[in-house]
């Protein structure tokens, strides 16, 4: 079966220009640097990663907002951007305040895709808008109001209604709940899941919150510095993470459970994510990796296709292995200065 979305070896570089007149290129941000993945119809693919890992850029490449630097993206067997693409693929944005025009009424905002794609006449559109508002749990009588009259959670519902107006098949959700209060997040997550079941939607769900991604996703991809370092069915990834970065990320996530939190072993990584302008050689995680060896500096590990669970690592973590805390992070009891190592070229000496 052909996947609904097929991303192969996509790269997206942003040039950095200097100078007033010549605007010569002095460098490139390697935002997405060789990503391949497939999304099957009806599933939810979660993409997690920290800020700057390229997950939002990838989302914008998939929805055609950014042209790719190289590589190809196919939707339903055809290159993206073709006829009907913008009807079939929609996006839900992170910021419920920034993504709705404050000077327009919500009815007109939700009807946008219908107007743009010339679907229906005015009366039909209005009926459809009210139907959509009801679908996402808003009072249909409020179509004449402005976004400022709604709370954050309700605005996100408006954004969802707009995304669904043209009856898309793939919806790319870019951090759809991270700007919402905890007590509201669950409302929106439940809504997204219900809509998927009801309308047979396919989701690409991008977030930095690991527990949310785990909850909504069938499969999860972990991104680091523009690459996918591990991709697996959700439970496999959370129970037996293979890439050291996935291990660190999972162990670093805070848990609202004091006992569980105290029991678990933290792998505290040293330093910060290196600059995507000059990414490290070989495996991009090697400067911070507790398992890094000489090979990791030289040789770029591949994310092997085939198989459900794959990790781009020369020395994957095996279940039960302890990632040495002595190798990474600030020692718990010591106050010795200067232990945070950030030089990206430290390498696996």
């Amino acid at each position: 079966m052909t996947p609904l979305l097929n991303v192969s070896d996509v790269r997206k570089y942003f040039p950095i220009r200097k100078g007033v007149f010549l605007r010569r290129e002095v460098g490139r941000v390697h935002a997405v640097d060789g990503v391949s993945l497939q999304v099957r119809a009806g599933e939810t693919l979660g993409i997690v990663g920290e800020s700057g890992c390229g997950k939002s850029t990838l989302a914008r490449c998939v929805t055609g907002l950014y042209p790719v630097t190289s590589g190809s993206i196919e939707f339903d067997g055809a290159p993206i951007g073709g006829k009907g693409f913008r009807r079939d693929v929609q996006m839900i944005f992170q910021d419920p305040y920034g993504s709705l025009n404050p000077r327009r009424r919500v009815g007109s905002i939700i009807a946008d895709p219908l107007v743009i794609h010339r679907i229906g006449n005015a009366a039909e559109r209005r009926r459809r808008v009210q139907e959509l508002m009801e679908l996402v749990g808003l009072n249909p009588e409020h179509f004449n109001r402005f976004p400022a009259e709604f709370s954050g959670g309700q605005r996100q519902r408006i954004g969802i209604a707009r995304a669904l107006a043209s009856r898309p098949r793939l919806v790319v959700c870019d951090e759809p709940v991270s700007a919402l209060d905890v007590s509201i997040q669950a409302q929106v997550i439940n809504l997204l899941k219900d809509l998927q079941a009801e309308l047979g939607l396919t989701y690409v769900f991008i977030a930095h919150d690991l527990s949310v991604v785990r909850y909504v996703s069938d499969r999860v991809a972990v991104m680091y510095l523009g690459r996918i370092v591990e991709i697996a069915p959700g439970e496999d990834l959370y129970k037996t993470p293979r890439h050291p970065y996935t291990n660190a990320l999972l162990s670093a996530a805070s848990v609202a459970d004091p006992d569980l939190s105290a029991r678990r072993e933290r792998i505290v990584l040293t330093g910060d994510v290196p600059s995507p302008i000059t990414p490290p050689s070989g495996c991009r995680f090697h400067p911070r990796c507790p398992k890094a060896q000489a090979r990791c500096v030289r040789e770029d590990p591949l994310l092997l296709p085939g198989g459900d669970h794959s990790a781009a690592c020369h020395f994957p973590v095996v279940p039960g292995e302890r990632l040495g805390a002595e190798h990474a992070g600030i020692p718990q009891e010591s106050t010795e200065p200067g232990l945070g190592r950030t030089e990206p070229d430290r390498g696996g000496e």
Binding site: I184, Q187, S254, V268
Partner: protein, 334 residues
């Protein structure tokens, strides 16, 4: 006597659309060397209340009392408060860029801070001290980084520099307002570790303000939950997480996906956050509460209890999470 005693604090902001009642009666105590976690969602008043203590809310109408080592902070002359700030009480903010001056080096800012509060220190001494502080918070090559500007630091490094500044004068109390919210998970873990370690070492009291129950689960001795400008539940950490009383606390803890990966339907807290212009009558949570009783609509519940305080009309022994506790709450409320 506790290090900081706040009682009956109210803060209101007059706006063209009416009076925004940001804090409507805040009371808490912080002991030396202990950590108080203040949890709340946006608009709960958690940041405003501590900013008010520090005299950082301009144009606000403030009443109530806040005593730091017995000295009243509310109404204290600005100059005196400024001297206290930094030397005795330090603040760490979510966005370190907003509190580090972009045009001065990090080291210069720490040196200035030291010299303002300790005029006897020479420049060289202060600089040496600044380098030691940067080393303490894990900034590599502190003798070189001390001459860097804030923009030359990464997000995590800036937050470390903020902590170094906060610690420079060895304050008795640190107020950290969402110190890790802008940081990524792996960096957040570093910063929280660092804060916990330094706090133990210097026996500093810490107020940790956040919306993230996960952060508090690691850090706090005692937890205070705020809703619509009021504390609604105060308890020791384990008590609060495993035996919560207030339906809002229960809702917060139960609305997050389970840590085991179970995929049962999430239980959101219904409804929308309350308006601060017109807070609901009675218990501010009543429009969203699944166990609402007639009394809740009319009577404001005070904080009740001995060690475990809760502002809810349900009997104080009805605590806990899960279906059994839910059943008892339903029983008691009907």
């Amino acid at each position: 006597m506790a290090l900081l005693e706040v009682s009956g604090l109210t803060v209101s902001f007059p706006t063209p659309d009416g009076v925004v009642r940001a804090v409507r009666g805040m009371s808490f105590e912080v002991e030396r060397g202990r950590t108080l976690g203040i949890v709340g969602e946006s608009g709960s008043g958690k940041s405003v209340s501590t900013q008010t203590l520090m005299g950082l809310t301009r144009g606000a109408e403030v009443s109530g009392s806040a005593r730091f080592e017995g000295r009243e902070l509310i109404g204290m002359p600005a100059e005196e408060l400024r001297r206290l700030r930094g030397a005795q009480i330090a603040m760490i903010f979510q966005d370190p860029l907003s509190s580090l001056h972009p045009l001065y080096t990090v080291g210069w800012q720490i040196v200035e801070l030291i010299r303002i509060h300790e005029p006897a220190t020479t420049k060289a001494q202060a600089r040496k001290w600044a380098i030691e502080q940067l080393a303490l918070v894990g900034i590599p090559q502190p003798d070189r980084r001390v001459d860097d500007y804030p923009h030359q630091f990464s997000g995590g490094m800036r937050q470390r520099a903020m902590i170094a500044m906060a610690l420079a004068l060895q304050p008795k109390l640190i107020i950290a307002d969402e110190p890790t919210t802008a940081l990524d998970a792996t960096v957040q873990a570093q910063i929280l570790d660092l804060m916990a370690r330094l706090q133990r070492e210097f026996d500093t009291a810490l107020i940790m303000i956040t919306h993230d129950l996960g952060v508090i689960a690691d850090m706090a001795d005692q937890v205070l939950v705020m809703y619509a400008g009021k504390p609604i539940e105060v308890a020791e950490r384990r008590e609060l997480y495993y035996r919560p009383h207030h339906p809002y606390t229960v809702g917060l803890l139960e609305s997050v996906p389970s840590t085991t990966g179970a995929k049962e339907r999430l239980k959101p807290v219904p409804g929308q956050p309350p308006s601060l212009l017109r807070p609901p009558s009675g218990c501010a949570f009543h429009p969203r509460c699944p166990y609402v009783m007639p009394k809740c609509r009319t009577d404001v519940p005070p904080l009740m209890g001995e060690e475990h305080l809760s502002a809810c009309w349900l009997p104080l022994d009805v605590v806990g999470l899960g279906p059994e506790a839910a059943r008892r709450r339903t029983e008691e409320s009907s």
